[in-house]
Amino acid sequence: MSEGIVLAYLGAALAIGLAGSGSAIGVGIAGTTGAGLMTEDPSKFGLVLLLQAIPGTQGIYGLLVGFLVLIKIGIFAGAPAYLTIKQGMLILYSCLPVGIVGFFSAIYQGKTSAGSIGLIARRPEETGKAVVLPAMVETYAVLSLISSILLLNGVEL
């Protein structure tokens, strides 16, 4: 097995691990607030679940990039490609945007979701706006995902 592949593994692990941790924290933050709201009004479960799920997407983006890395280096095909250190580094760097941005954006999106949950608690008619606010944070996670995909696509093996 080549040395480069070690770095590629690190990249995949960082993408999945960082973005996933961020999502876990974000979903947790939103969930705590949501549970608080539901003690008052359990009928809002559907809406709360929706808002709580929004910070979960970063984890999926991270998983997606990690998965793309594994496909790219041929892990699933059974015959890992030969990677030089340089190629491994490139793959590792490609994973960083989604890992780093995913981590932080998920946490802040969780906070925004929590705020939105507070909003629908008092003004249920403003659901549309409440959903858009966390989606604004999501933009940067999406952009980081696109960057990671494009960077990864640019690595020639």
Binding site: I60, Y61, L64, L143, I146, L150, N153
Partner: protein
């Protein structure tokens, strides 16, 4: 214009028909009654506040109480789905009114109240008994009548608890100082001992300091039960048993009451209809002989209203007028059936202002296309369309829910189309089919599909951006036509066309490599013209010539806004790709399992759970991001929000449906 035309109606009627007029309007359900403001013409008219007539015991909160109590004791818990499947009972308005006289609610209410009180009493008693039981359980080893423990002539019995550490010291101290004594351990708890100390009464003063020294807690028996702890526990258990029995009896009674008194549901709805009518009265005005009603009605409903009044009343006058400038006019969107479900998206944001345009028709096209790209899987789209179709067909849904499922149905179809375009069928599940289907899967994923984002992401990314350009241009052009139609052609040219020229120039410049060289010249000119016109026009609100130019130059900064708007559409690409790849991942995980026989089961479970999860997450992502693109990128270009919804005065019900009888009569 898909915003319904609204007119104001004014009704004056003889005061004797006040109630029946309101009832007819409520049954008709197409007018919104509004407050008559204090003005000259009404200055000596009074409001009807003094008229409230709902002080009877048959009122909403009492009925609600009975419903809550009885429905929690219904014989078999019918599941939520079942209640969705059974249609609501339909009553005519007159039937409802008769119903109220037919049944004796007061009696039922008293009975419910009584039983509810008794249940509460039983609960209280049960808690008390349980607490006593727990307490006395600890003294089970003491074979003495607890209630008579104080009544000994010569000896003193002191039950109490002490920590294990202190016990030995206590015993030795007592033995040394009090002498005649019996100390018995009754029970052992975690780190405490329950003991009984028996001494001669005369020695009591000597004992007390010792007890204090070792923090001996004397047990004071405070219950009224008589007998030894064993007997008491038996009594308590008997009483507890009696309580359980009685509660079961009450439960049976309530179940019976529930099945015998189904009328409370329609009664509740009738009362809320009446309440609504009473609440509306505060908007009316009356003089000695006349009442005045004012409100909004859709223009298309005017004949209906006039006809209804004519058929029922003779002492009235009705007139209609155009809404005045500055009045808050309620909004009804009236789109074609195909577009109607997408009104939800507009309404989620905010209704349009009455004097502007409804964005729904054009939004529906964009929403459909974007959702298709973001979900982009034939399997998921199909599942979504199928489920919402079944829901619409078999579930008893309210109007709003039906509309929502209809929207999901369209979104599902969009997802199917997007999936065909990207060659995604539950991800790459076609590759796992037996080799016989190779041709089919090759045809579906390679021939029909135009994009393969996993292998070459760039074309799909460009498609997303092009869609973004189209939508933003549309937004700007809508604003332009709006300006033109309001006679503000110059504003339109300065605020919209100048930006369009500049943006077009920049876009052409960015892609000039792929186009003939003449384009790059055009792009340069466009950028120049656009820039100059923006600098010259965007500061026109300022008075000072320097400020004019300054604000114009500052306005150029807005170009970053447009660029980030375009880039924002790249999310469509990311979401579309994500759906397919995650699906692919689950397929791979599922087929990795190589256990004989049982493996098939695991594979199926992983496939079902995984794809359901992905469908939920991708669907949610597509829904939210699509909506966001409409709200933030599209609406910001032209949309005037802030309309209030039209809230008709109507028969609002929770449990049943009410039919307007006069309609049925004519049929």
């Amino acid at each position: 214009m898909t915003i319904s035309k609204i007119k104001k109606f004014h009704i004056f009627a003889h005061i004797s028909i006040k109630e029946s007029l309101l009832i007819e309007l409520q049954k008709l359900g197409c007018v919104e009654i509004i407050n008559i403001e204090e003005r000259e013409e009404f200055h000596n008219w009074n409001s009807l506040d003094d008229d409230f007539s709902l002080n009877s015991p048959v009122n909403l909160s009492n009925v609600k109480f009975c419903i809550d109590l009885l429905s929690s004791y219904r014989a078999k818990k019918s599941k939520g789905l079942k209640s969705l499947l059974t249609p609501k009972k339909i009553y005519s308005y007159d039937e409802l009114v008769q119903l109220e006289q037919q049944y004796n609610f007061q009696e039922l209410f008293n009975r419910c109240k009584e039983l509810d009180n008794e249940l509460n009493q039983l609960n209280l008693q049960e808690n008390r008994l349980n607490a006593a039981q727990q307490e006395i359980q600890r003294w089970l080893g003491l074979d003495l009548d607890l209630s008579k423990i104080e009544e000994r002539k010569y000896i003193k019995i002191i039950p109490g608890s002490i920590t294990k550490n202190n016990y030995q010291n206590l015993v030795s101290d007592i033995e040394q100082q009090v002498k005649t004594s019996v100390i018995q351990i009754i029970a052992e708890e975690k780190n405490k001992l329950n003991i009984a100390i028996i001494i001669l009464k005369e020695n009591q003063p000597k004992l007390e300091p010792i007890l204090q020294k070792y923090f001996f807690e004397i047990y004071k028996y405070s219950h009224t039960f008589i007998g030894t702890p064993k007997q008491i526990i038996k009594t308590i258990n008997e009483q507890l048993h009696a309580i359980t029995g009685r509660r079961e009896e009450i439960r049976q009674t309530l179940i019976k009451l529930y099945s015998e008194n189904q009328f409370i549901y329609p009664l509740y709805d009738l009362l809320s209809i009446k309440q609504e009518k009473e609440d509306t009265k505060k908007y009316l005005k009356k003089s000695a002989k006349t009442i005045a009603v004012r409100g909004w009605v859709q223009k298309k409903d005017i004949p209906k209203l006039e006809k209804r009044l004519k058929e029922n009343f003779s002492f009235y006058d009705v007139s209609f007028s155009e809404p005045k400038e500055g009045e808050v006019i309620p909004i009804v969107l009236s789109n074609k059936a195909m577009v109607r479900p997408f009104e939800i998206i507009t309404e989620l944001y905010s209704l349009p202002d009455y004097h502007t345009i409804d964005p729904t028709p054009i939004l529906s096209i964009f929403y459909f296309v974007f959702f298709g790209l973001a979900l982009s899987d034939v399997g998921y789209g199909g599942a979504m369309a199928l489920m919402s179709y079944l829901a619409m067909k078999y579930l008893q849904l309210g109007k709003g829910a039906k509309k929502f499922f209809n929207l999901l149905y369209y979104c599902g179809i969009a997802g199917i189309l997007g999936g065909i375009l990207l060659g995604s069928w539950f991800g790459d599940i076609l590759n796992y089919l037996p080799p016989v289907f190779n041709n089919l899967s090759f045809f579906l994923t390679q021939k029909i599909a135009l994009f393969n984002p996993v292998e070459n992401p760039i074309p799909l990314l460009i498609l997303s951006l092009i869609l973004g350009v189209i939508q933003i241009y549309t937004g700007i052009l809508i604003k332009f036509t709006d300006n033109v139609s309001k006679g503000k052609l110059t504003d339109g040219i300065m605020d919209q066309i100048s930006w369009l020229v500049l943006i077009t120039g920049i876009i052409l410049y960015l892609v000039k490599g792929m186009l003939p060289s003449v384009i790059s010249k055009i792009s340069g000119t466009a950028i120049l013209i656009g820039t100059i016109s923006i600098i010259l026009t965007q500061g026109r609100a300022q008075k000072n010539i320097l400020l004019k130019i300054g604000s114009g130059i500052l306005a150029l900064y807005g170009i970053t806004g447009y660029l980030s708007d375009f880039l924002s559409y790249s999310r469509l690409f990311a979401l579309g790709l994500a759906t397919g790849i995650i699906a692919q991942m689950f397929n791979m995980l599922a087929t990795m399992i190589k256990i004989p026989y049982l493996g098939v089961l695991f594979t199926l479970v992983i496939l079902i759970v995984g794809h359901t999860f992905n469908l939920f997450m991708s669907g949610l992502g597509a829904f939210i991001h699509d909506a966001r693109l409409q709200y933030v990128e599209f609406f910001s270009k032209f949309y005037d929000a802030g309309g209030n919804p039209f809230r008709p005065f109507t028969l609002k019900t929770t449990y049943i449906e009410v039919e307007d009888t006069s309609k049925a009569d004519k049929l």
